[in-house]
Symmetry: C2
Subunit: 337 residues, 2 copies
């Protein structure tokens, strides 16, 4: 019965999302570019390589500590371009508004998008606005798309390039975004307010690629968290990724919040973090470049790539045991981005 | 009071939409590309000119005679690219789904998008899916974005190029899409079922541009209908556009439906029509090219461009009087696309 309807989990970035993509979207839309399922599509045109990406944002609440739906929509597009190794060229923004939304809310969100775009140095060049009757949408949804320019003559980072021996580097603490939104939505208060990490990562990625041009994979661990993204990379590259729980940067408040709510921080969305999988020989340089960047000061080596068991992610726990780290099956955190 | 909230009219393509764009979006996002407000943005990159467009689709019902939300979403992006004179290069599709949507509906829409994209010869290369809790959206919304390639070395059609003496050509009957959706939604039946004109126009535009390379403006009259689009072109070009009611192609059933519902067909959305404003010397060729194309067989000259009164659209009625044709102020037809 449930197989015939759309569930929240179909949008959560985990197993059900992957099923929907393969059983429906790839079946009908499948083509050599889409099939790669990168954070951005890579197009060739007139001797140039372009990156192209789109994401809808439905986060609830619209404003949360550290960001809002507008900042999220701009950073989301920029980070998907960055994960392809692209420099952002232009963004578009399409708004679906609920009749009765107050103008002030829309203006705050618009101002925030404008600030985020200015911070990146990219323009919003195309847009659209639809308004639906009261009750047909929840206040506002935003869809951003982005075009980026890819550098010439280098092999691009891509999800199937992780190789045994590679080093897995994470640019900072995990689970900040998801827990900031959850705490705000549920009205939970901790010793200090948890801030979303929502931030554009084009600068951090450019610094990493300059220091370590052979980076094999880049990915921003949004919906489904680190667990979903590492599983995807392990599957796509046909390798095993082994990570160390003790190396994982997690803020104290976020750790406490996750324990209280019974949520694994490895399953929680990030909006300002990047994973880089780097050949051993360039790992030191990549890590150094991240740490020197203001958005990567807590960057850390969190694991290694191994040959087997292919397609698996294994977590070495603080206690020293080794367990399979699976993709989240359901959706603990709906409307997180 | 009403000035402080978003109304349906803000998304209707008329005066309120224009106000929202200028008072909010251009104020915060304004840049030389966005400010042109073309159907697509035009970007320069590495010696190439690219067109970039985005639109959200929220049509209700999802399926209507002649189309569905999926076909509409693909044709909408393709036609915005075509109106910029661009050949479609790639599309993206972002879905916002309501929890509980039946899978079969999503599959029908996906199949329809796939068919429409195949018809155009363009691929959907990037996508996204978000699911929101039951009641937070009405079944499904789709946002498509498109990238197109613009030909080298020619001056592109654009909304500010209409000049006195130019001829206004319309590719076929008006108001079919809006009245098909309205009739379907309201359960109104006429002698025969009104079909939406929803169709991709890249081929028709290519044929027109080949026959008449000096075309000054191209525009697809969607939300707000012919009246909104002609007013925009008149304002942007600083000219008067005078059209003849007697020359306006309208199907008999659509005319009757509009009369019954008290709706002016000039205010109703089209999804498979193009307006071309063409220098006198090329008008014959442009009209001929349209008429030879299967989607332009009922193309007609509907008016002329004059110098004054600048920024106005005037309609010469069947009775011979001349009246100002204004932009629709409210929204008679919410969720028409």
């Amino acid at each position: 019965m449930d197989d015939n309807i759309i569930l929240l989990a179909h949008g959560a970035g985990g197993k059900k999302s992957a099923d929907l993509i393969s059983s429906l979207f790839l079946r009908y839309f499948g083509n050599p570019i889409l099939d790669l399922l990168g954070d951005s599509a890579v197009l060739e045109s007139g001797g140039q390589r372009l990156a192209f990406t789109t994401d809808s944002f439905v986060v609830d609440p619209l404003f949360f500590p550290g960001g809002d739906i507008g900042k999220l929509a701009v950073c989301g597009a920029v980070n998907d371009l960055a994960a392809a190794g692209a420099r952002p060229l232009a963004l578009s923004a399409a708004f679906i508004l609920e009749e009765g939304l107050d103008f002030e809310t829309l203006e705050r969100v618009t101002a925030s998008m404008s600030d985020a775009a200015a911070d990146v140095g990219v323009s919003i060049v195309a847009g659209d606005t639809k308004v639906v009757t009261r009750g047909s949408a929840d206040r506002m949804f935003i869809t951003t798309s982005g075009i980026g320019l890819l550098p010439d003559g280098i092999e691009l980072p891509s999800p199937e390039r992780a190789a045994p021996g590679d080093v897995v580097i994470l640019s900072g603490t995990i689970a900040d975004h998801g827990m900031a939104v959850m705490a705000c939505r549920e009205g939970i208060r901790f010793s200090s307010e948890i801030q979303s990490d929502c931030a554009p990562l084009h600068g951090l990625v450019a610094a990493v690629l300059e220091a370590a041009p052979s980076v094999h994979c880049l990915r921003d661990p949004t919906r489904g968290g680190l667990a979903a993204v590492l599983n995807e990379l392990a599957a796509r590259s046909g390798v095993c990724i082994e990570i160390e729980e003790s190396s994982m940067p997690v803020s104290e408040d976020v750790r406490v919040a996750c324990e209280l709510l019974g949520i694994d921080p490895l399953h929680v969305a990030n909006e300002g973090k990047m994973i880089a999988i780097v050949p051993q020989g360039e790992a030191e340089k990549a890590l150094g470049a991240m740490r020197r960047h203001p958005r990567g000061s807590r960057a850390a080596v969190i694991g290694r790539v191994q040959a087997a068991p292919a397609g698996r992610v294994r977590l070495r726990t603080v206690m020293g045991s080794l367990r399979i780290l699976d993709v989240p099956a359901g959706d603990l955190l709906p409307r997180i981005c």
